[in-house]
Subunit: 476 residues, 2 copies
């Protein structure tokens, strides 16, 4: 039975992309729809998103932000107001040209992001330094006309939050940019057990219209990097384009300083590719819809089901616990909840009742052990915390093992020819070198990390004086 089930998943060593798709569909997270590049998020996948969203929403509000809602559609003339922005997004927006039977006088695009809508709004509502800062956030869907798509990782439409703020000074806005990057980093690490590297994007990789972009990057099981979230310091670029001015404390007109930052359903793809294995999904406990699944053994025997429900009741105030009392075989259930990545399984059988104990099985390590029902509540809490820590430790170790130092372009080419790695290498700051590295190795600059190490004096590509240590990798 076990074998039968496991056979259905492609091994990640054979075909990583297929392994990923298998997990997405077989763990019932999402599915393809008849709309190219758009996905259907199943209840199980959506519950994970709700857990992530609720925790992030709490953090966003805790840091003083308020939620608002802006329109889905953007008039073409509005999108064109900031030149770098439209240049970046024009190739990937969807255009509405007809409303009902009528052709529109001006095309409307479906928002790919909402800087211009917030820009126009802020121009109308900000007049004095007393109106600042404005700390707004929006939960919404956006559309980007991607050519190649994969569930969660890159979809035509995705769900996200986008923060948009206005400040009196550059200093304050930069501080906000950092603060929100740290919120994202702690969400990845504390909720999802995903270790991240914090840093700054290069000019080439920054957001269209930003002064600079901060990013949190993480490393997937196949050695490719994934940009997990970004936080942009917009400077006064959008503010000047939209005329967002205020009377400052000295009574003079001044342009605001802005930030924007976003976190998307893409994170679910990252979570899969960081933690899961060849038996299916592995969920970090804090994001898991069901943290503990109770499987009754020989449930037709007297007392077993009652005992299982008692155990559920004793746990339900402290963890998200379910019981599968269906008539399916225990073996089927074991496989199913391993596939679904439920962090902890409790088995309750006739002999366990006598001995006043329960068998637990950890999804991450497979560890199996008896525990007294009297210690169960504290033991389960401890185990879930431990699973989180172990997942984080394992992923951190993997990140460390897969990080290589390159001194020359030849090093990088060698490293990346047959496999994927995260590469640390020095860079002169010139875009030509960035382009050459990409061309020769397939790797892009992931970030200039805040934690710098001086590996060498010279650029890995051109040999000239280096400015920064940069992380490079093939990326999603």
């Amino acid at each position: 039975m076990a074998k039968e089930f496991v056979e259905k998943i492609t091994s990640m060593d054979d075909d990583f992309a297929q392994w990923y798709t298998d997990i997405v569909t077989k763990a019932k997270l999402a599915d393809y729809s008849s709309v190219r590049g758009s996905m259907i998020i199943h209840p199980y996948g959506y519950k994970i998103w709700e857990n992530i969203r609720d925790e992030l929403d709490r953090k966003i509000k805790q840091t003083g932000h308020e939620n608002v809602y802006m329109p889905l559609l953007i008039p073409e003339s509005l999108l064109q107001k900031e030149k770098d922005h439209i240049a970046g997004f024009a190739p990937e927006v969807a255009w509405v040209t007809h409303g009902g039977e009528e052709e529109l006088q001006e095309r409307l695009c479906i928002r790919p992001t909402s800087e211009v809508l917030f820009g126009e709004y802020y121009k109308n509502v900000i007049h004095s330094y007393r109106d600042l800062p404005k700390l707004y956030n929006q939960w919404s869907n956006v559309v980007r006309w991607e050519k190649t798509t994969r569930p969660f990782l890159r979809t035509l439409e995705f769900l996200w939050q986008e923060g948009h703020t206005c400040h009196e000074t550059e200093e304050e806005a930069v501080e906000e940019t950092e603060k929100m990057l740290n919120v994202y980093a702690s969400l990845c690490e504390d909720l999802l057990a995903i270790p991240v590297i914090k840093g700054k994007k290069t000019e080439k990789e920054k957001f269209a219209g930003a002064t600079f972009t901060y990013t949190v990057e993480s490393l997937m099981h196949d050695g490719k990097a994934l940009q997990t979230a970004t936080s942009h310091f917009l400077g006064d670029g959008f503010a000047k384009a939209f005329g967002i001015e205020f009377l400052n404390r000295d009574g003079n007109l001044q342009t605001v300083q802005q930030t924007s930052w976003g976190f998307t359903t893409r994170i679910i793809g990252a979570m899969i590719m960081v933690h899961s294995d060849n038996r299916g999904l592995v969920l970090p406990p804090k994001a898991a819809p069901t943290q503990v699944m109770i499987v009754p053994i020989a449930s037709h025997k007297e007392g077993v089901l009652d005992h299982a429900y008692e155990i559920k009741n004793s746990l339900k105030d402290s963890v998200r616990v379910e019981i599968d009392a269906s008539d399916k075989k225990p073996g089927w259930k074991f496989n199913e909840y391993e596939m679904q990545g439920v962090p902890l399984r409790l088995e309750v059988g006739p002999r366990d009742i006598e001995k006043e104990q329960v068998m637990f099985v950890r999804r991450d390590t497979g560890e199996k052990r008896q525990v007294s029902v009297h210690d169960l509540k504290s033991e389960v809490e401890k185990l879930l915390a431990d699973i989180h820590d172990e997942l984080y430790k394992k992923a951190s170790l993997y990140l460390k093992e897969k990080t290589l130092i390159a001194f020359t372009l030849a090093d990088m080419e060698n490293f990346l020819r047959e496999d994927n790695y995260l590469i640390q290498a020095m860079w002169c700051g010139n875009k030509d070198c960035e382009n050459e590295i990409k061309e020769k190795t397939g790797a892009t600059s992931r970030c200039i990390p805040f934690e710098q190490e001086s590996i060498a004096e010279t650029c890995v590509c051109c040999g000239k004086q280096a400015e920064d240590m940069v992380y490079w990798a093939k990326a999603y």
Copy 2:
């Protein structure tokens, strides 16, 4: 000062539409955007929506439903599968014709509702009676190309939830349709203090593609009715169009029976037009972002601010309480929070500290009274509950007063010539009479109420044998 502020709102007796718009903008709920018919929901308006949404989401989950997410875009061919549905929605959908620089081979519409997406999905995932019922819900934005729009009431884009369920039997599906109508009704009454009339729509007014539509209707301050939420029994119309079949308990192929039901941001418009007055918004306490606003009086005097914060702390675990410690004048604050509809204001001044008391002012009745700080917590809870009850009672009384019985079409014409009323009148069931009534009086059939009263034997319009008592009104 008070006068100055109040002057800014148009009286509802002078111009009801302008009064409504004034409240929406001056209470900072929403604003117009540069996108025709789309609104910007401000933080204050969005917090109200969050309170409503969270409570409805809780009820939807409590009744066994799970959240999912379907695509925003629908291929034209998919929308056309159910003929009544496309006929109803074709005139009001927005069409995407270009993705990036490319013209699409098939147009995509922005979902006006998602029956067809769920239809296609259910066809793929339902195979056996064991897969039923399917009880799914989605929180999303939809677009309908309305010609005339007003914030919350009728907008190009709105936020909502849409439930979509599949069942083995007609009986079960009809029961679900009723259950969800009752969820909506109790949300209106218990959370928003809005009395509703539950009933069935006529054939003419039902949802495009449904077998029948249940509705909750409520009456606005101007005597017009508003359809607050609807729940549709879809029968097997969509299921046949999409081929949603399952092996039933007898081993035969059978078509599923479906429902759909929705609740939108429109409810905020209803809430305004049922409770508010000429001094601004009046919020039902359970939906209010701030339930209690503390205004310190002579806050420069020793101890006042400390005392105000102490009071806030003593209340903050049981109610949503804020304090306005800004340097604005108390009079300005009084007006502002009346405008914003905060249910209860507490005034804390130097003399109150000595006497260990606080002054409260109710937003709904204007009642002003001293209360001992020692009784404050229980008194505040009691007052908020009382405000809810009073709002509900007042609205119910108004509904009763504005309901008239008509025996002839001439009655209806007379009643509705100069003013708006909810009219009870008998109807034969013929669409021609419905059309004639609309033509002569401007009123549409709101619903055939579940609670029937036999007013007369004959139809108010044609004089033939009557089938049902129907509520008629001009409507939003």
